[in-house]
């Protein structure tokens, strides 16, 4: 009986080349290596476990189907992450069509009330925090942001995209991206400061 090759020590690049030639065993190894990363990205955007699993699996299927288009300009995992982000954005847009615009968003677009209500955080609430604790607090704070604010933060801070790239992905103007990023950062700072206060009290 033929045994499956041990791909655990093979580089991503070599596995990708194999998968591009139709080697599904190589592709499975890529999935095993990067499934947590893709799931985490989907979850950070959707905040729903089932949707994150479904969308990350859909991304892998699309990745396999488009594998010949991957030329290696970025790393394979970056390329796959872009696919899952696009799927999440599509899903979020569909969901948005089914719900009313939030008052918060209207305020953001008109630019007024929200910023007056947020005090400037002077002391750094993340000082002396263990990394795991900081990550847990960031995750908690992300869960409390609107999806527009959360998405723009993820794309700018974690994916390191520029304003214009985010605008293209989110199908909005650069001005809207800047405005959303500004309020998202301010809210994040205030949420982290709130968690610090909770801890102290």
């Amino acid at each position: 009986m033929a045994t499956q090759p041990d791909n655990t020590k093979v580089s991503d690049e070599k596995l990708v080349r194999g998968a591009q030639k139709g080697d599904m065993v190589a592709f499975e190894e890529l999935v095993a290596r990067h499934r947590d990363k893709l799931y985490a990205r989907a979850f950070s955007m959707m905040r729903n476990e089932d949707e994150a699993i479904d969308l990350s699996q859909e991304a892998w299927v699309k990745g396999w189907q488009r594998l010949k288009q991957f030329q290696g300009e970025s790393s394979f995992v970056t390329w796959m992450t872009r696919i899952v982000i696009n799927l999440c954005l599509d899903q979020l847009r569909k969901q948005k069509r089914h719900r009313a615009e939030s008052i918060e968003l209207l305020e953001e677009e008109s630019g007024g009330v929200e910023r007056q209500m947020l005090p400037v955080v002077a002391a750094n609430p993340t000082e002396r925090l263990e990394r795991a604790e900081l990550r847990a607090r960031i995750d908690r704070a992300l869960g409390q942001l609107s999806y527009e604010h959360r998405t723009v933060l993820i794309l700018h801070e974690f994916e390191e995209l520029e304003y214009k790239e985010i605008a293209k992905k989110m199908q909005c103007s650069i001005g809207t991206v800047m405005s959303r990023l500004f309020y998202a950062r301010r809210k994040m700072a205030n949420l982290l400061a709130g968690f610090k206060r909770e801890e102290l009290s």
Binding site: M24, E28, V31, A32, R35, D36, Y39, A40, F43, S44, E49, I53, S56, Q57, E58, W60, V61, W64, Q65, G111, R115, V120, V121, A122, N124, T126, R131, L134, R135, A136, I138, D139, L142, L153, H156, E157, F158, E162, Y163, G175, M178, S179, L181, F182, R185, R186, M188, A189, L192
Partner: protein
């Protein structure tokens, strides 16, 4: 501070300003305490997030997660193969008339281009089978230089027998 100034501070933080604009904002934020405080807050939020993306683990086993992906890949490939097969069958009925039309066009063009220089036997009439690459069609051509006439007879080999050669063609195109 107005919204434009706030967003300018942020653009400065993100390196999205020209060197000249960046110098201006740096000077302004060093003089203005409100701008300095806001810039500090934005910087803190950015620094806290950088490299601290929450780490999550997929709540499913490798095998279970992969099995759904593989099933979906195989289902999509089968669906695509089925679509291509259906597309081929639906297009095949157009192949015979298309091949015939193309043949007529090629022959007509070559005759128009070279007809005048084949004057060795002006009075000759030719009826000849035309070689073509289609398995489904056959073609005969009839040419008369004297009558300035060229006819191509295209037929479906499955349905129609080739025409018997006759001294004069019934159908005349001029």
């Amino acid at each position: 501070m107005n919204q434009k100034s706030e967003l300018r501070l942020q653009s400065y933080l993100d390196g999205e300003l020209s060197p000249r604009q960046a110098r201006r904002v740096a000077e302004w934020s060093s003089r203005d305490p409100e701008a300095r405080a806001l810039l500090g807050e934005l910087k803190m939020a950015r620094t806290a997030l950088a490299g601290n993306e929450p780490e999550l683990h997929l709540p499913e086993s490798r095998e279970f997660y992969w099995s759904k992906i593989r099933r979906e890949i195989e289902r999509a490939e089968k669906a695509e193969a089925g679509f291509l097969r259906r597309a081929w069958f639906s297009w095949r009925k157009y192949l015979v008339p298309l091949a015939g039309t193309a043949l007529v066009a090629i022959l007509a063009i070559s005759t128009a281009r070279f007809g005048d220089v084949t004057g060795a036997d002006e009075s000759a009439r030719h009826l000849a089978e035309v070689e073509n690459l289609s398995e489904h069609t056959g073609a005969y051509s009839f040419r008369s230089h004297a009558e300035n006439m060229f006819v191509v007879w295209v037929y479906d080999q499955n349905q129609e027998a080739p025409p018997e050669p006759e001294p004069e063609a019934d159908l005349i195109l001029q």
